[in-house]
Assembly symmetry: C2
Homo-oligomer: 237 residues x 2
């Protein structure tokens, strides 16, 4: 029989402690055993067992540095499947209430290594509308132009084999946004330029005043950003 081994992945996802750790890792950063144990509310030795299971299932990879072990998602495709799964997760009333409560937080967030949520969708659609991005066989292709330099992105000179831009389906918006190396560059640059800031915990991001200006000047996102109801930027730390 050629039945795909869903069960190996399913087994890995079947425990609430493991899914809490995975949600933590969805942010895209690496975390130590202890941090993940704390996030899941379990002891370190239990977390060790869970993480080995996730590793065996191919969802997570580990990297030893000194006396610490850093864990991260095995790749963007894992994050994408988890986002898809979140889309069909049962919507019991409690979960629905929680999702509503967390609405503001989810407005701007990172999905593994790129931006997600309404801001990402708005940016993608602005890039398409202004002709900086073109659709090609279900994927996106970047059109050379000065806008990319203003976003802090370097387009590859030669067209490489691997897709430079990959569409990723957003589970709250159910619309496409930018992933792939280009999406990664945009997020990295936005953090480096202090357009976005990552709070100490969680996947949520906050937009700063310079960020608001930049997104308005470069992409004309003024009106869309107001609807997004961003968390107000904090005072200088």
């Amino acid at each position: 029989m050629a039945t795909p081994r869903f069960d190996i992945i399913g087994q890995a996802l079947s425990d609430a402690s493991r899914t809490r750790m995975l949600c933590e890792l969805m942010e895209g950063r690496s975390f130590t055993n202890k941090e993940l144990a704390g996030a899941a509310g379990i002891t370190a030795q239990t977390a060790t067992a869970h993480l080995r299971l996730l590793q065996d299932a191919g969802l997570v990879v580990a990297e030893k540095r000194g006396r610490c072990v850093f864990h991260r998602l095995a790749g963007p495709e894992v994050a994408q499947v988890l986002e898809q799964l979140a889309g069909i997760a049962p919507t019991d009333s409690l979960y629905r209430a929680q999702r509503h409560k967390a609405k503001d937080l989810a407005q701007v967030r990172s999905c593994y290594d790129h931006l997600a949520g309404p801001l990402a969708v708005a940016m993608t659609e602005a890039l398409l509308a202004r002709g900086h991005l073109r659709q090609d066989n279900g994927g996106f292709v970047a059109v050379a132009g000065p806008v990319w330099a203003r976003l802090g992105v370097a387009l590859p000179t030669a067209t490489s084999r691997k897709p430079f831009v990959r569409p990723c389906l957003d589970w709250t918006e159910r619309r496409l946004h930018l992933a792939g190396p280009l999406g990664t560059q945009i997020l990295t640059q936005a953090l480096a330029a202090d357009w976005l800031r990552r709070p100490s915990r969680g996947r949520g991001l906050v937009v700063t005043q310079p960020g608001l200006r930049a997104f308005h000047d470069i992409l004309g996102l003024g009106a869309r950003l107001e609807r997004i109801n961003v968390t107000p930027p904090r005072e200088d730390a």
Copy 2:
């Protein structure tokens, strides 16, 4: 915390008997309790418990007719997520061997309610190349023309809210193909016109001689179909 409840879905997918039943249901048809029990190699009373769990997770719906209970996947989005999951399932050597062995069978197959596999990808790309299909914001839009009538498909007169054509990612090909109501119509028509036949078991389909002719005449798929290495059609039953 607003952590999505992966674990409910994961729990449902974490057992090999349940995933065997789900693979059976991926074909898109309804099956009785007894049939699914047989496919999974378990007794009826055990299958009852499994199917209730799948129902609670929202993956499967049941319909009682007389003394029989028919089970089917809860919707196309469930089938799509399962296809995605199959794409990141661990590729141990045994599974790889099985997949290779089942290569011919997977050439033409149904994915819930539409065609999948290389034939579906080839059809989609032919429709795009000939301008019968257009890409729009990550989705497909059908362009009116005589080709649809030849395929036995009726396009909706008014543009409805729900997407008439939905792209679906193929896990063996990793390329987009047609899903949504249009994909369903194409599969239904191909079966009705005896272009494709469904064998007694499994998701695989066979292409008949009239089917080969039709796909060549309507879409110019002659060369692509040869590469697809279809199972030769059987003699009249």
